[in-house]
Amino acid sequence: MYWLMANLRQAGIIVRNEVFVLPSRIAVLVFVVALLALPIFTQDPYVLRIIILTSVFALLAASWDFLSGFTGQMNFGHALFFGVAAYTAAKLNLDLSIPPWGSIPLGAVGGVLAGLVVGIPCLRLRGAYLALTTLAFPIILMGVVFALPDFTGGELGISGLSRLSGSRVGDYYITGGCMLVFCFLMWKITDSKTGIILHAIREDEVACRSAGINTTRYKLMAFCISGFFAGISGGLYAHIMRLAGPSTLEVNTSFLVIIWSVFGGMVSIYGPVAGVFILFPMLEFLRFIPQARMLVFAFLVLLTLLYMPEGLIPWIRDKIEKVCPRCKARNLGTRSNCRVCNAVLD
């Protein structure tokens, strides 16, 4: 009991000193608490389903940001990892009767293999050439899906997968929890020494090689990690929809991921998550004007990119926080002295 109290007290001190000092950190805490507490206030199946799908796509968008934002490997065919994992999970679940807790991770392994299949031939490509080549892979796979209808279910896909859990609330907590945990993991990787190398590869690959870094290994690793997390979201999606169809491989899926990420703010992990949590429910909300739905969506994205080229979240963050000129620590925008080194803030 004493041990528990001491730890709780320690956690409280950390939260007070590390979280309650910056609005962005408070926002993240509020988001996590709200996400976890939502089913207490409403169990409306429609609302829960929207948030479940939003969580799945948030994980997908964050995995794209990890590869394209952090490592600079511009991937226009991210739906490949999503689709491969969805189909793998579906086949394993239906043909081998593997339950979701087994089929989803194994589907993610399919995503890793897809990452290798794309990553190896694309190692020598950069920029627009890389983007266009990666775009081709899901299109090729979709051709294969249609060419082998007995194996892939063709246009209708593979349906009848087992449920993720017994209840909608269970599905909600599994997807929400997976999204939070895996996004945190991705953020930790990007914040580590490996993350510095991934940043450096994005900035200048030749200079990075000249620093003695095996960029091939790190680029492939980025493709695999991104493929794994995108694969987790693909597997979750297949079990939530109880279907793995060609729509998972569509070009539209790949581009939506990019739009969400760019809207929220690339190279941050939390930016794409916020982008999905704003844009995906908004599209649902706009369903009462079906004709103008996409127009409003496009207009909003255009406006954001015009006035906030770095994305929405970094823009808001820069408005409410300022960086200390001496120690580079972030501070609340209204402070006149740095909270770390006490230097005068501009």
Partner: protein
């Protein structure tokens, strides 16, 4: 007889129909500083890129400490102990300056050599200290001036603790005072020793430079390239009085 420290044998590089490097052969010892000079377009930078594996030679061999390193991947060459700087600086612009150097500290060679240094940041800080820009460690690299970028390049190369350092125009774009400071840093590095947690092997160096007056003070020998071919080779005094070198720089009438 022991193999030369670095031996370049009949190195040739063709870009389509253009021969940038033509059958260049030379060798250097462990404790030497070799100057590589020549008019613009002579092939000096191409030569450095061939040695470091950024470019693959069309013909010829490069041996380092008796091992054939021809056509090796750049990171393997660096991890064997050869580091280089770039004429047109290539910092990781959006990263803090310390992170720029930490990338070098995270290379397998640097990690092996600094086993007793637990914190990569400390080692990177020492490299910055050596280069004289440690006070700006937390600034983004995009905010650095030309002179400071040159120092950052040197810090990044030094952080891998190389045995052979290839410096491409280290004095380029620097003021006379900065040039003097850089020349002193290079001489200090060549002498070897310990700079904080960094250990300098006292690397051999190949220095490409147009500021000949400064270069002459620090090099042991000079190799002169023109149109990809070696036209002179010798001590600074021999090279400056060489008729062919004077003609290459000033034209036939200039001599």
């Amino acid at each position: 007889m022991a193999a030369p420290f670095l031996e370049v044998e009949g190195l040739t590089k063709d870009f389509g129909g253009l021969r940038a490097i033509n059958e260049v052969t030379f060798s250097m010892g462990r404790d030497e500083i070799l100057g590589l000079i020549g008019p613009n377009g002579a092939g000096k930078t191409t030569m450095v890129r061939l040695i470091t594996g950024i470019l693959r030679p069309s013909k010829g061999k490069v041996h380092f400490k008796g091992h054939d390193i021809t056509g090796m991947k750049t990171w393997d060459v660096v991890n064997k102990g050869i580091a280089c700087t770039f004429q047109n600086m290539r910092p990781f612009r959006r990263l803090p300056i310390i992170a720029n150097v930490m990338v070098s500290c995270l290379s397998p060679r640097a990690m092996k050599r600094g086993e007793w240094v637990k914190r990569v940041e400390a080692k990177a800080m020492d490299a910055l200290e050596f280069a004289g820009i440690s006070d700006m460690a937390l600034e983004k690299a995009s905010t650095l001036s030309q002179g400071d970028l040159k120092r950052l390049e040197v810090a990044r190369a030094v952080a891998t603790e190389p045995e052979l350092l290839l410096l491409d125009e280290p004095f380029g774009g620097l003021s006379p005072a900065e040039t003097d400071l850089m020349a002193k840093s290079i001489s200090r590095l060549h002498k070897g020793g310990r700079f904080g947690r960094l250990h300098s092997e006292g690397p051999a160096m190949i220095i490409i430079e147009h500021k000949l007056q400064q270069l002459m003070k620090i090099v042991d020998r000079i190799l002169v390239l023109n149109f990809g071919t070696v036209i002179a080779h010798g001590t600074p005094e021999e090279v400056v009085s060489n008729q062919e070198v004077i003609e290459a720089y000033l034209g036939e009438g200039g001599a």
